[in-house]
């Protein structure tokens, strides 16, 4: 009798502790945010492809890299740490967008500098055109009073 009671107690205890554990288990894989995996993978260059991100490539290597992103996130790494993990192994080449610091900052600044230089060139050229246009009417022959008088007489003669 007492052994049956002990068994019952053990059973209740096991069920009581097992239930929350069983409830928690599916929560662990769900903790990986697939959107986060996608966003990290889309910043990484697929190393065996031409101009494709790890997120977009169906290659085996890209699949393995996405799995590694998940694994890193599962260990508690944040986005920057996961990206750094790949940079440490492949160099900054793995980043589809170059870093906005150091030498690669030039890549971000150069287009703006180029546009500014372009605008300056356009401004100089347009100013040149304007000056030419302003100079042209001044060179046009002006009718002097003698000529005006001759025309008037010619018109009158025609009318008569």
């Amino acid at each position: 009798m007492s052994s049956a009671r002990t068994l019952l107690r053990v059973l209740v205890l096991v069920l009581a502790t097992a239930a929350p554990v069983a409830g928690q288990q599916p929560a662990t894989p769900a903790a990986i945010d697939e959107k986060e995996v996608y966003e990290i993978a889309s910043q990484l260059r697929c190393v065996v492809c031409q101009n494709l991100s790890v997120a977009d490539s169906p290659s085996e290597m890209a699949q393995q890299m996405r799995e590694l992103v998940r694994e890193r996130l599962r260990t508690g790494a944040n986005r920057e740490q996961v990206i750094q993990y790949f940079v440490d192994r492949y160099g900054e080449w793995i980043l589809l967008a170059p870093k906005r610091s150091g030498f690669t900052l030039l890549v971000w600044i150069f287009p703006f500098v180029a546009v500014a230089i372009g605008l300056l060139v356009v401004a100089v050229v347009v100013r040149g055109w304007k000056r030419t246009a302003a100079a042209t009417p001044a060179a046009r022959p002006v009718l002097d009073t003698e000529m005006r008088e001759r025309i008037r007489r010619a018109v009158e003669a025609e009318d008569a």
Binding site: V47, V48, V87, Y90, G91, W93, V125
Partner: protein
């Protein structure tokens, strides 16, 4: 001034064209690996013959880590005999060749090993983690690890006898 401005626009395109020509012609596999000079990532895999292959247990030896695949023709087929020759020539002096087969089928890989009579340990990297740890872009790629466990050189493409000898002699001559 006017002449200068007229030439400035087409001339400004030249550096951009040079930059593009350079960028498109560079092979990304030739970009120097950030791993050279850094400690080799430890790994433990199971060889095709069922034994564990671990980098940690090889500390104190010169390790040649070769990434290959049976579908990698012709480069992997060219280098396989050279790797086997190198391993046979230097194994008694404390050098180990470790072959890591990536993105491959087991049967095809085993056939490759049989065909070339490879006797050095070969293992498959099923998850791809080891190849990513070594920043591998493709096959074949070979890493030369010194006795202290530092990656000292990376060779992209088929390893020749001369390449193998050069790295093996340099690293074996060093103290541990």
């Amino acid at each position: 001034m006017k002449k200068l401005v007229r030439w400035l626009i087409p001339l400004s395109a030249i550096p951009v064209l040079i930059l593009l020509a350079y960028g498109f012609r560079v092979n990304h596999r030739d970009i120097p690996s950030p791993l050279v000079g850094r400690p080799a990532q430890p790994f433990t895999l199971t060889s095709f013959s069922g034994e564990p292959v671990s980098l940690e247990t090889l500390r104190g030896k010169v390790v040649v880590v070769n990434f290959w695949a049976s579908w990698c023709y012709p480069a992997c087929y060219e280098e396989a005999p050279a790797l086997e020759r190198g391993w046979r020539a230097y194994r008694d002096r404390g050098l180990v060749v470790v072959g890591i087969d990536i993105q491959d089928r087991v049967e095809a890989a085993q056939k490759f090993i049989r065909e070339f009579g490879l006797t050095f340990p070969n293992a498959q990297d099923v998850s791809g983690k080891v190849s990513i740890d070594y920043g591998v872009y493709g096959v074949p790629e070979t890493f030369f690890v010194d006795k202290r466990g530092q990656i000292r050189a990376k060779h992209v493409g088929a390893v020749t006898d001369a390449v193998f000898r050069q790295h093996a002699e340099t690293l074996l001559a060093e103290g541990s």
